[in-house]
Amino acid sequence: MINTLKNPANRAWIVLMIATGITWYLGEIGAAGTAAIVAMLLIAFVKGRLVILDFMELRAAPLMWRVLLEGWLILVSSLILIAYWISLK
Amino acid sequence: MQYKSQAVAKPYFIAAIGLFVGQILFGLIMGLQYVLGDFLFPAIPFNVARMVHTNLLIVWLLFGFMGGAYFLIPEESETELFSPKLALIMFWIFLVAGAATIVGYLAVPYATLAELTGNNIIETMGREFLEQPLPTKVGIVAVALVFLFNITMTVLKGKKTAISLVLLIGLWGLAVFYLFSFYNPANVVLDKFFWWWTVHLWVEGVWELILGSFLAFVLIKTTGVDREVIEKWLYVIVTLTLISGIIGTGHHYFWIGTPEYWQWWGSIFSALEPIPFFAMTVFAFNMVNRRRREHPNKAAVLWALGTGVMAFLGAGVWGFLHTLAPVNYYTHGTQITAAHGHMAFYGAYAMVNLMIISYAMPILRGRAANSNRSQVLEMWSFWLMTVSIVFITLFLTAAGILQVWLQRVSDTPLPFMVAQDKIALFYWMREWAGVAFLIGLIVYITSFFVSGEEKAS
């Protein structure tokens, strides 16, 4: 069991599954508004980052590629956040 | 010249330049008609002049592509052309058919021409850029097929390089998508929808493969950079081109009766279209900077760098300016489109042809490069024509912005002709820039006749 958890991919998988469950649950209870949006974006960001670092194995890649992919995630999340922020006004 | 059969490229290049001159002369006539409306009326009405201008453009570019392919393919495949004789026969057929078509445009009214050439059998005429009479259209297909057969057989019997494969795909695509010019239903929306399968998938699709492979070929030859490196980048660039350009067709489907979702698909993908052009510019400069030898043909290198930059500006930047649906709503069908069209065609396709001609012609004439004097003249012509086209584009853009403002955005929109009169000054300036372009073209042609100390091949 401990050995299984040593593998970062396995840890990432568990976190990803749980995080998906949380997002789904937030949907089920009808969460809406600023807090819900920020929470879901945050979850998506964490999930995306895990995929980039542990699935795509960019943790050990040249910095440029990490920055490009993680930057993409930040950019997309920020644009979505801005658009939703506009819609809440 | 490494292979004897490459020599068939020479008449193609000469014809291309000759037709290019014709295109520019008719461009000047049209430019003048923009400000002196009845100039040459009724002998050469504007629609005839325009048809000659655009058709000559297409035909001279095709001559350049074919000549370039005949020059490039034997060298890439490391074998003689499958049939040089066939290439020469096709040259004369295409030239005579092309000339006859232009004479037809000028000599008889278009409706009579349609009547005489069997437009009643299959109605294909009278659509922008595809005005050619039926026999000419069939002729184009026949010539293209024989040409493709010749080229493909050469590649099949010789070495298959990335450059020749990309070029072949481009040329086959050119022929295949031209077939949509035969489809002209009475339903105008369907007509327009598939008309773009020829026009857009040519200029923002398969032609770019031809452009990319010519550019890669000349860069390998002039910079001495490893073929492996250049071919990899060629693949990356043409991939970017097609993944943005194919769906990018959608930017023509905003207002012609096609569903609304094209406004999103078209805007999103055509917004990505500048990327391959940018990559191409970076690629060209990068390879030249990493050059391992000093090629004596400086002019060809200048054209290679120029085509990257100008294609990026003309097709990439000027295209992006009006490609997003909310902007295009106001600019669609105005002088903005004309501005973009001029710089994009010159930057991408005129220049790449001039590049391959600049590289190949001295070799076809038995030397590695022209004399210094000749090259200096050629570079002058490069700058004259390029700066002129930049000014043509800027003046047309200014005219277009004013037109959009007066005729489309304003609360009290002016009628078309009233708005046109108000922007006449810009048309005058465009015409003078056109004259400068013609001077540049004359300088270019002169450079072929300037001798001096030649560099041995």
Binding site: - | G37, F41, R50, E131, V188, G257, P259, G333, P413
Partner: protein
């Protein structure tokens, strides 16, 4: 050394990417073709309209005018010309073009159309005007 870059991989991506995006384009086109009957007013198509389109083409009108914004930019947009001038106005305009042009002005040729032909042209232009173009052009001036 950061990652290899091989020609075969670049080539495979080129082929794969091209096929992928072309298929996507075909899928979208397929959907468009299924939606068009609701937008292009084909139910109203008549032989007269088809005749009008043929006249439009064989006189190379697109060489000066735009139709739904496509064509040359030398003369006015005609997709909505019937809104500007009305049926009779359009006919009268075409009929009244002087053979030798108008001195100093952009001139339209005199095509010597018959009344029947003029009716066909107007029918065609009215048909084009009825197409759902997502509210283009922005105003009646085209």
């Amino acid at each position: 050394m950061s990652g290899a870059f091989t020609k075969s991989m670049a080539r495979n991506i080129f082929y794969g990417g091209t096929v992928f995006f072309f298929l996507l384009f075909l899928a979208l086109s397929f959907d468009t073709l299924s939606q068009l009957p609701k937008r292009d007013m084909r139910a109203n198509m008549t032989p007269q309209i088809a005749e009008g389109k043929k006249l439009w083409e064989t006189h190379n009108c697109i060489g000066c005018h735009t139709l739904l914004g496509e064509g040359a930019y030398f003369a006015p947009e005609l997709g909505n010309v019937v809104v500007r001038y009305g049926d009779e106005g359009v006919k009268a305009f075409i009929q009244s073009r002087p053979k030798e042009g108008i001195p100093g002005r952009r001139s339209m040729p005199q095509f010597n159309f018959t009344d029947e032909q003029l009716n066909a042209i107007v029918a065609f232009l009215k048909h084009v005007n009825s197409i759902n173009t997502n509210n283009w052009p922005p105003n009646s001036q085209g």
